[in-house]
């Protein structure tokens, strides 16, 4: 939080459109940088730079742009979206942006990881071959799940896809 205070704040939003805000007259801003947006009523929103140039910076606001006006202040944090992670996160309930919402204490980070991840070099992959027994016979017999594989569940609206999804945590 310290660093954020030191950063320049801009009140130069020239346009708001859909989930985007357009900020003018900034110093050079990095592509994909993380943005904090402070509304006059004290609400803080988060965003990310989608397009940056000498003239204008386009920011996608994650929480939507409702309430944003020309007096809204914008701060560029100068880093891609990182998430604090720790083994203590196991057993906790977190919001979409990684904040605890179970009433428990903040997570003390062991590491900060880029949420965009990084591509695995295909040459350093090993073929998945450890069978995972799911206990769901149609999966085990017909569409065996293997460690390191992806298993999409296709569902229609109104179908009970939550049960198999919840069951998957026990695999």
């Amino acid at each position: 939080m310290e660093i954020i205070k030191k950063m320049k704040e801009y009140k130069t939003i020239s346009r708001v459109a859909g989930p985007l805000i357009f900020v003018e007259k900034t110093e050079p801003i990095g592509y994909a940088d993380i943005v904090k947006i402070a509304l006059p009523d004290g609400t803080i929103k988060n965003g990310q730079v989608l397009d940056t140039s000498d003239d204008i910076v386009v920011v996608q606001v994650f929480e939507g742009t409702s309430g944003i006006d020309v007096d809204t202040r914008v701060k560029f944090l100068g880093d891609a979206l990182k998430l604090s992670v720790s083994k203590d996160m196991l057993g906790r309930i977190l919001s979409g942006s990684g904040k605890p919402i179970d009433g428990g204490p903040e997570v003390i980070p062991e590491k900060k990881l880029d949420i965009m991840g990084a591509a695995i070099n295909p040459f350093s992959r090993a073929l998945p071959h450890d069978f995972i027994q799911t206990g769901i016979s149609t999966i085990d017999a017909m569409n065996t799940l293997v460690r390191g594989q992806k298993l999409p569940l296709f569902s229609g609206s109104g179908l009970p896809h939550r049960q198999p999804f919840a069951r998957s945590s026990r695999f």
Binding site: P28, I29, G30, Y31, A32, D33, L50, D51, T52, S53, D54, G78, D79, A80, M116, G117, A118, A119, I120, N121, P122, F123, S124, R125, A126, L127, P128, G148, Q149
Partner: protein, 574 residues
């Protein structure tokens, strides 16, 4: 030096000012010197697609124009390699940046240290030009790599030496002072020139019965494999890479899964080429730009692949290039196009989509290369993954306009586990006429007529099945019930082929021919039996005809086939 600054960054697209490049010049972007390529020039603004992740790159950072186009290094060491979309060897990248792809790393395409044993065949004083063979290197056991004069050079050989060289050592000189090396560079977006183009006249034997018999592709031909997800495109591309009788295979994994490249990497060294008896990996070059790797490099990967293919073609080899999947390539173009604020065409693809696809497939062909008389060829087989299996979408349609073979994969067949799931009614090949003579000379004189019979029985089956759906099979005349039996044999024995069975994965032309002959014999015997008073019902109940598919899974099948055919004959004579 031509230096400028970044004006704007939007994903893989960077706009620079202050440089004066030519179209497709390579630029170095930002403090980390990321590699990019000029794709548009408008006034003082230069638009560059960047091959690496641009997060954190800011306006005002430097841009350097290298004044060179994007090139690949061509020379010994390509075979058995696995590259990313811009020919950086993936094993080298692991050494430099660990298991994940990071940015700002340069790695030459060829091993710069390795010494190759070069045997000169050209002599001092020879008149040489682009494509002339200077000598040979055994690149992998059994694969001779011909060292050629680069396409745009010519002169008298002032000096040429045999010996052990790295790709950068000078092996000789032309009288104009040009230094000859084992390698040369070539820009990926420019087609390598040839002496002349030839008409295709021999098939690429794929070892896949339905292809070799019903829908053949010529050496130098182009084929499309469109299919909905899970219908078997990748398995088909891998089977073709394994068993096609091409000399060299270039496999471009374009925007698909990393695990599939790992499969190729672990499997190919263990499998042996039925022609040479050597590991399949020895003739293979892999290019991997998986779904999560940078999108601009995916756009380039197809060009990198086809340029390498052309290089081996120029040595007089037949090359087969697989692209899995060209839809992901088109999506890369779409993503970059949308960042340019270009006017989108159909479904958001850029208006030049079909031109680009046509230009790519146009690089296939059977040719007399420059400087030699040994003909070479490139066959291109592109997978297309239309969303929802809808073949009317732009990528499939633009592809079909230029490809002459259409292997339509069918979700229904795949669900019934009929593999390969090529739909025999909608697929086609326009090479039958061109290849006819070859079959007569090299396989059997009745090849074409057998194939014609197979097709017409399958087409008749389709009509009969419609009737059966309405009135039930009992209502069919007996002769037509027998046709249905024969059609089922064609589907189950000839068309179905298990890519994962050690023997069935590959089927040579003789065996395919034997299967077709046997089915026609059974058809004849069954029809004779009808004439002799046997009921269709009884014919249906005979057991031995259902055993014909056993021969697919046996290597030396002659005796088994005789035994089964003998039993069928007995049953149908009773």
């Amino acid at each position: 030096m031509d230096k400028g600054v970044i004006y704007r960054v939007a994903g893989p697209v960077v706009v620079a000012k202050g440089i004066k490049p030519r179209m497709y010049d390579v630029c170095r972007i930002g403090k980390e010197k990321l590699m990019g390529e000029v794709i548009q020039i408008t006034g003082d603004k230069v638009i560059i697609q960047v091959y690496e992740d641009t997060s954190g790159i800011k306006p005002g950072e430097p841009v350097i124009n290298t004044k060179e186009p994007l090139t690949v290094e061509l020379g010994p060491g390509l075979l058995t390699s696995i590259y990313d979309g811009i020919q950086r060897p993936l094993p080298v990248l692991i050494k430099q940046m660990g298991d994940f792809i990071k940015r700002g790393v340069d790695a030459p395409g060829l091993d710069q240290q390795k010494k190759w044993d070069f045997k000169a065949v050209a002599k001092k004083g020879d008149d040489v030009k682009g494509g002339s063979i200077l000598g040979e290197v055994e690149e992998t056991p059994g694969n001779i790599h011909k060292i050629m004069v680069p396409p745009n050079q010519k002169g008298k050989l002032a000096e040429i030496n045999s010996g052990k060289f790295t790709v950068n050592d000078v092996i000789g000189k032309l009288d104009n002072g040009f230094e000859l090396k084992l390698k040369h560079n070539w820009p990926v977006r420019i087609e390598r020139p040839v002496s002349s183009k030839l008409k295709p006249e021999m098939p690429l034997i794929t070892g896949q019965r339905i292809i070799d018999a019903l829908f053949p592709i010529a050496k130098g031909g182009v084929a499309a494999i469109p299919g909905p997800f899970g219908s078997g495109k990748t398995v088909m591309q891998q089977s073709l890479s394994k068993w096609s009788d091409a000399d060299i295979i270039v496999y471009v994994g374009c925007g698909e899964r990393g695990n599939e490249m790992t499969e190729v990497l672990t499997e190919f060294p263990k499998l042996t080429d039925p022609k040479s008896g050597k590991p399949l990996m020895n003739r293979t070059v892999l290019i991997a730009n998986t779904s999560n790797m940078p999108v601009a490099a995916r756009e380039a990967s197809i060009y990198t692949g086809v340029t390498i293919a052309e290089y081996y073609r120029d040595m007089g080899y037949s090359v087969a290039l697989m692209a899995d999947s060209t839809s992901r390539w088109a999506e890369a173009m779409r993503e970059i196009g949308s960042r340019l604020e270009e006017m989108p065409g159909e479904e958001g693809y850029p208006a030049y989509l079909s031109t680009r696809l046509a230009q790519f497939y146009e690089r296939a062909g059977r040719v007399i290369p420059l400087g030699t008389k040994n003909e070479g060829s490139i066959s291109i087989i592109g997978a297309v993954s239309p969303a929802g299996g809808d073949f009317s979408e732009p990528v499939t349609q633009s592809t079909l306009r230029v490809t002459k073979v259409f292997w339509a994969l069918d979700a229904k067949l795949a669900q019934r586990r009929h593999f390969p799931s090529i739909n025999w009614l909608t697929s086609y090949s326009l090479y039958h006429d061109a290849l006819d003579e070859w079959y007569v000379k090299n396989v059997a004189s009745d090849w074409r007529s057998l194939v014609g019979k197979m097709m017409s029985i399958l087409q008749e089956e389709e009509k009969l099945l419609e009737i059966v759906q309405l009135v039930g099979s009992d209502a069919l005349p007996e002769r037509q019930q027998v046709t249905l039996v024969v059609a089922r044999l064609i589907r189950e024995v000839l068309l179905q082929q298990n890519a994962f069975h050690d023997v069935d994965t590959f089927c040579d032309m003789k065996k395919t021919h034997d299967i077709m002959i046997s089915i026609m014999k059974i058809s004849k015997m069954a029809n004779n039996a009808l004439d002799n008073g046997m009921r269709a019902e009884q014919i249906l109940e005979t057991k031995s005809k259902d055993r014909l598919s056993e021969i697919k899974f046996v290597k030396s099948y002659d005796n088994l086939l005789k035994e089964i055919m003998g039993k069928i004959e007995k049953e149908l004579k009773q």
